[in-house]
């Protein structure tokens, strides 16, 4: 895609199944699709029905490329993209 080759930071909130392999899949897709990890937090939901993950990534690619791939993961139950943090531009 021909978007400006400017790195931007994006934050995603993701609800996954309560399994370690869910995180492996998230990270594998993030790395393989060319997004740099800028932050990762996770906690189990109170009723242990899943994990709540906050994933921050940096890339010069449109974040939709990552969101579309993550949404396809079986373990991902819900995914929300937060507004790109303006000013968080990196080389």
């Amino acid at each position: 895609m021909s978007n400006a080759a400017q790195s931007q930071q994006h934050t995603l909130t993701i609800h996954t199944r309560h399994e370690a392999v869910a995180i492996e899949r998230l990270l594998q897709v993030t790395r393989y699709r060319g997004f740099t990890l800028a932050g990762l937090e996770l906690k189990p939901l109170a009723d242990l029905s899943g994990l709540l993950i906050t994933l921050s990534v940096v890339s010069d690619k449109p974040v939709s490329l990552l969101v579309n791939q993550l949404n396809k993961l079986y373990d991902v139950l819900d995914l929300e993209l937060h507004q790109a943090e303006a000013g968080a531009l990196r080389a």
Binding site: M1, V21, L65, N68, K72, Y74
Partner: protein, 555 residues
């Protein structure tokens, strides 16, 4: 019953009558349950062969292919086939035995982290830790393999789960996936129809997703009604009816000149179940650069991945294509495409007495029984098959597209024969590729499978050699196979008769002899190592800049 018996029960519940695999310690309970069961197990002679046979079975029939392997080396041997199925979107369920949970995570004998290994080469994978979850997991695996964009799903089952006791609960009505609701696409359909009306030079770019959506009748009706010229990807060969005069063949790196030239000139590219793969687009920035794009696919991640779509629809082609049908007036463009096709037709008047593989494959295409399934391997012979054979369905042309895996052909031809016993299964392989899963001749022998094998022998890793000739200054590093085994004797060791030919005038009678023989047969075809695949779009070039026979640049 035991978990292992439940696995077999679930296979029959899903209409699986044939599975491919190889036994070993951690999957012995399942093999015990298969013993004298209604599910027929085909012992392949390498798990990769089992995986590719499952793929061939699936591709030739549209059903889900099933393969089995033990833990550790059994599972690692399956990985290449899973990756192949992932890249070509083939529904496969792989069941692997795993070490018992009591020793899991201790580097136990034949323990590898199969779930971890599967992450990058499956659509999804499961580890079953409780026998109570086994049935639901297997049902989910079959459903996932087939639904949306199909793909391979792996289920790793520890031995203790296979041995545990469980009750079988019959399946209650499964929820079918919701039909594509046309009203929800009203806006996009209107936009697409407007683009189709404005277009002067539209082109349908057809991928494997169309036949996988079971939408070939709708596709052909659409093409006829609109009068739109079309091209296909490697995976979609056979999608367009042979009688369609505006079908220009395969596009891309080894596509036809007519297809590549016309696609570069189009003002509206209608991408149906395809994904702008680099073998198709050549230099992406220069690919159909004047065209607007309508992209219809079932996989949301393919939309705008490589090429921006002016109109995108995520849905079922079977429902969407009829809704987009509007007769166009493209007379000039049709005439132009027809002229390109005329001007750049294939030539078969190759000089000399040697066998010219493109001509042989054209003769094969004309002489093989109707509805034969042709599997091929990877290399020059694979591209010649795509260029010079005509198919009446993508299910009759099994070619490893996305992964381009040598060794695919022989086991795929076995799987095809087992899924469609009434049809002829033909393998076109290369002298390099054939040796990569040659052990599967033993599978043919054991089950007396009448697979017709044609080895195109150029005594080279021909495709790599061609690139060395063109782009590496003729430095032929490790591509000489002139010490090949005697392929006819090799086949004879597996009780497969064969014959070797090297002259043009031997071809037709040799093909007839092969097809009239009731059992498996190997036809060894010697060709000149200097024959290359043309045209070729060199790396980094735009698709109109094809190299042709004498390395010269075409306008």
């Amino acid at each position: 019953m035991t978990g292992a018996e439940l696995v077999v029960k679930l296979l029959t519940e899903h209409g699986v009558h044939s599975v491919f695999g190889y036994p070993g310690g951690a999957i012995m309970p399942i093999y015990d349950a298969l013993y004298q069961s209604p599910v027929k197990h085909y012992l392949c002679r390498h798990e990769q062969g089992g995986g590719f046979s499952a793929i061939g079975y699936a591709r030739a029939s549209g059903q889900t292919g099933v393969c089995l392997a033990t833990s550790g080396p059994g599972a690692t041997n399956l990985i290449t086939a899973l990756a192949d199925a992932l890249l070509d979107s083939i529904p496969v369920v792989a069941i692997t035995g795993q070490v018992s949970q009591a020793v899991a995570g201790t580097d136990a004998f034949q323990e590898v982290d199969v779930l971890g290994m599967s992450l990058t080469c499956t659509k999804h994978s499961f580890y079953v830790s409780d026998v109570a979850d086994l049935a639901d997991t297997l049902r989910e695996a079959f459903s996932l393999a087939q639904s949306g964009r199909p793909g391979p799903v792996l289920v790793d089952i520890p031995k203790d789960v296979q041995l545990a006791q469980v009750d079988y609960q019959p399946l209650h009505l499964t929820a079918t996936s919701p039909a594509t609701e046309l009203s929800q696409f009203a806006e996009q359909i209107a936009a697409a129809r407007a683009l189709l009306q404005q277009a002067q030079k539209p082109m349908a770019y057809i991928g494997g997703g169309v036949h996988m959506a079971d939408a070939l009748p709708e596709l052909n009706a659409f093409l006829t009604a609109t009068g739109m010229p079309s091209v296909t990807t490697l995976k979609a060969m056979g999608s367009v009816e042979k009688s369609n005069p505006l079908y220009l063949g395969m596009l891309g790196m080894h596509g036809t000149q007519a297809a590549n030239l016309a696609v570069q000139q189009t003002d509206l590219l209608l991408c149906l179940g395809a994904r702008f793969d680099d073998r198709v687009t050549g230099n992406l920035k220069k690919f159909a650069s004047e065209a607007k794009v309508i992209h219809i696919d079932i996989d949301p991640a393919e939309i705008n991945k490589l090429r921006f779509a002016d109109v995108a629809m995520l849905g079922d082609l079977k429902a969407l294509l009829p809704a987009m049908t509007a007769a166009g007036n493209y007379a000039d463009w049709q005439a132009h495409c027809g002229a390109l096709k005329q001007q750049h037709g294939w030539r078969y008047d190759h000089p000399g007495e040697r066998i010219y593989a493109p001509l042989l494959l054209k003769q094969l295409s004309e002489r093989m029984p109707d509805n034969s399934v042709v599997s091929c391997d990877v290399g020059q012979h694979q591209m010649w098959v795509a260029q010079h054979m005509r198919f009446n369905s993508p299910r009759n042309h099994l070619s490893s597209g996305g992964l381009g895996t040598m060794g695919f052909g022989l086991p795929a031809a076995i799987g095809a024969k087992i899924s469609r016993p009434q049809d002829t299964s033909v393998l076109v392989t290369g002298d390099g590729s054939f040796m990569m899963n040659v052990q599967e001749l033993a599978t043919i022998k054991r089950f007396r499978l009448p697979v017709k094998i044609i080895v195109i022998d150029n005594q080279r890793l021909g495709m790599v050699k061609q690139w060395q000739q063109l782009f590496f200054a003729g430095r032929y590093s490790e591509t000489d196979l002139s010490d090949n085994p005697d392929f006819v004797s090799l086949a004879a060791a597996f009780a497969i008769p064969g014959h070797s030919i090297s002259h043009k005038d031997e071809v037709e009678s040799a093909l007839d002899a092969m097809f009239s023989w009731p059992g498996p047969y190997l036809l060894h075809v010697r060709i000149d190592e200097t024959d290359n695949v043309w045209p070729l779009v060199p790396p980094g070039a735009a698709n109109q800049d094809m190299m042709t026979d004498l390395p010269q640049w075409e306008e």
